[in-house]
């Protein structure tokens, strides 16, 4: 109970301080924010050796705990990765400041002008796992958009994250950023996360970044609005009117270019009219690239030497070199399959038919719907948002890649000359 009260107080005090700092930050000039970002970048490079030494402590603990090779790789800092973090901060400094943008103003019949101005959301809580670069990336995006941030990284990266936050805070203070605007929960106790999720008087938004378990825990326990960055079960539908050479390139890219990401293809849907022409070539190429293929009966009738797809497979995010293939009778069947098994993340059609392209684009429900392009392009940089804090799978506020603009709220601004309510 004593320890619990300490955690409660510790988290609440951090959040209270961060909230006060976020109020000041909301009205700080772009010049000061950019100068802070550049000083932070320089600080990370200057302290590279210290960061790598602190990271070493996390790596030793990770090896003792027997974490997987992939986890340890994501956790590792080296001079190149520190440099990449610093460059990331410089890129954010170069982006336009979203705060203060007035999207549109209009005049009302009573003569007053009404508009909407972008303002910071306030204090954002980020809950994430392993990769220490997330600490610098998200801090930079929140700072640039005028938001305070309270970071809660994975316990396995606590030394690395602590060292990074120290550098960021020192550089921020030098540039005139209020103390506490970038704040970090350095107590690895999981109870801290539960406390954060209840502090709706201080924290305005929670963004969880991580595995399904983390995201479910956060959604179920938070009294603060949550924007989830959840899984992707993505499809490419190859229409009977597709340019099959293009379809092959898109499908291969969507599966193989980086299979561990949420916008990689998990299931390829192929119209039966082109199955015999299309399937042998693409499946052969996939197999050569090490992809395991799981097909429906119709697909196996064309390419026998593949595994059977089970009902569960259609709903699975493999994040790996495994692909489901289903041969279907019509675009309607493809859209029904996507509605039943997709996760509304990234969906694509390959077709040269105008009507099919238009209907698929309009009727399929996902954060991004592609005609004749790879699902892998569902990304803030690729869409031109400049940088992204992740890909939202929540339907409100921001859906799909979230850039700086998506980290803002708005306020109505009204200019009158004596208007009253009649």
């Amino acid at each position: 109970m004593g320890a619990f009260m300490n955690i409660k107080q510790y988290v609440a005090e951090k959040a209270k301080k961060a909230k006060a700092a976020s109020r000041q930050l909301a009205n700080i000039s772009t010049e000061i924010k950019n100068s802070a970002l550049l000083k932070m970048a320089a600080g990370l490079e200057k302290e590279s050796a210290t960061l790598i030494a602190e990271n070493k402590k996390d790596l030793v603990a990770a090896e003792q705990k027997g974490l997987s090779k992939a986890m340890i790789d994501r956790l590792t800092l080296n001079p190149e990765r520190v440099k990449a973090m610093a460059d990331g901060l410089r890129e954010v400094a170069a982006l336009p400041d979203p705060v203060g943008e007035v999207l549109r103003m209009w005049r009302r019949p009573n003569g007053m002008e009404v508009g909407r101005m972008r303002v910071p959301i306030g204090l954002i809580g980020i809950i994430y796992e392993s990769r220490p670069n997330v600490t610098a990336d998200t801090a930079a995006l929140c700072l640039k958009s005028g938001n305070g941030v309270i970071l809660r990284g994975g316990s396995e990266a606590v030394h690395s994250n602590n060292a990074i936050v120290k550098v960021l805070s020192r550089a921020g203070a030098e540039a005139g950023i209020p103390e506490g605007a970038v704040s970090f929960i350095d107590n690895p106790d999981r109870a801290c996360v539960m406390e954060m999720l209840k502090l709706n008087q201080y924290i305005d938004l929670i963004i969880p970044r991580g595995g399904e378990g983390l995201i479910r825990m956060v959604s179920e326990n938070s009294t603060i609005p949550v924007i989830k960055h959840d899984k992707g079960v993505c499809h490419v539908y190859v229409d009977n009117k597709a340019d099959l050479a293009m379809a092959e390139e898109i499908c291969f890219n969507a599966k193989v270019q980086r299979p561990g990401t949420c916008n990689a293809m998990e299931t390829m849907l192929v119209h039966q009219d082109v199955a015999k022409t299309f399937l042998p070539a693409i499946i052969g190429r996939m197999k050569k690239a090490g992809v395991e293929i799981r097909g429906c009966a119709k697909t196996k009738a064309v390419v026998p030497d593949i595994k059977d797809a089970t009902e569960k497979d259609w709903d699975t995010e493999y994040n790996d070199l495994i692909l489901n293939v289903r041969t279907i009778a019509s675009m309607e069947e493809a859209m029904d399959h996507i509605a039943a098994h997709g996760s509304q993340h990234s969906e694509a059609i390959v077709t040269d038919d105008y009507g099919n392209a238009r209907r698929f684009q309009r009727e399929v429900d996902a954060s991004a719907v592609f005609v004749n392009a790879s699902t892998r392009l569902n990304d803030g940089f690729e869409f031109g948002l400049g940088a992204e804090i992740g890909i939202s799978t929540t339907r409100i506020h921001a859906r799909g890649p979230m850039g700086l603009e998506e980290l803002t709220s708005t306020k109505f601004i009204v200019f009158g000359n004596g208007q009253i309510r009649k």
Copy 2:
């Protein structure tokens, strides 16, 4: 336990059906939606006598329960109010359909075009109290924006709401709206609300409309995103550079025109340089209109015959003819007072000074910030949004008046010709 399981199943089945209907509704034409709204309006007028008879049952129960006169007034239906509900539906039919609007498209260096299209949010749960017209209003706004809706009205209005929903459903079915798209939890057990709040697999957004207790209960228990319509502690600051005649009209309007609303003024802040000129006239006029005045020491030094304002008063939403008055030394002090005691709802400055207007507008944090206009104008109709489902006090997704556009989500749409991720 048996009854509990029944409620669990009952609510889950309603929500599941409504979700399925909302998926169909997302792609229904504007023509069908408008035709449904007009048929609903005609239906309400035709069934006016039935609605009033059903409402009578609620009124009898309300009197037996000893509800306040104000509550009973809000609950009452009469031919004029039924007509007003029907007219409300016709107004929504006349508004432009937000679904399918593409806000902007841009071309990326790789040649693909990227844009954002408005799509429905999905299934929206509305939890509200007493007034039966909310049933028709919110159903119409959700339908027009392509969303399914699951309504949970107050138990005191259950007969009225049930009768209204029956009319709406019948008219909707005639027009071709999928069954269940407008659905109503007619079991008055409060456990139904708790069940709704956990159905995040079906419901995409919860909008609570009602008192502080309801809103707190919903925010604390919902696993679904919530957009709150919370209280307003609103201020008008009369600057030393104000046009005092204009200031008097604005302050009087902000307090007296309809004191029970969330955008009415609760505290008037007056610069000390104009206190002697301004306070006696405005306080005299307020008193004549029946307003009780509670002032700080400086205010009492100018107008002695008023009550003392306590610390608690500065934080209170009276919703009544009571006004706090504080005389302050500078605009900074006014902004500090607003930051400390305001609820970020509606804030106004009256001034002829360009610099002060600009600074107040920029630095004050609220859903709407007014220069030389009454806080009472913070409203969807007044701002030109056409109709409103309420005034959001949540900082994400929609802040301030929420119209049809704020009831939509977006999806990225991408037109390519073979683009892949490099």
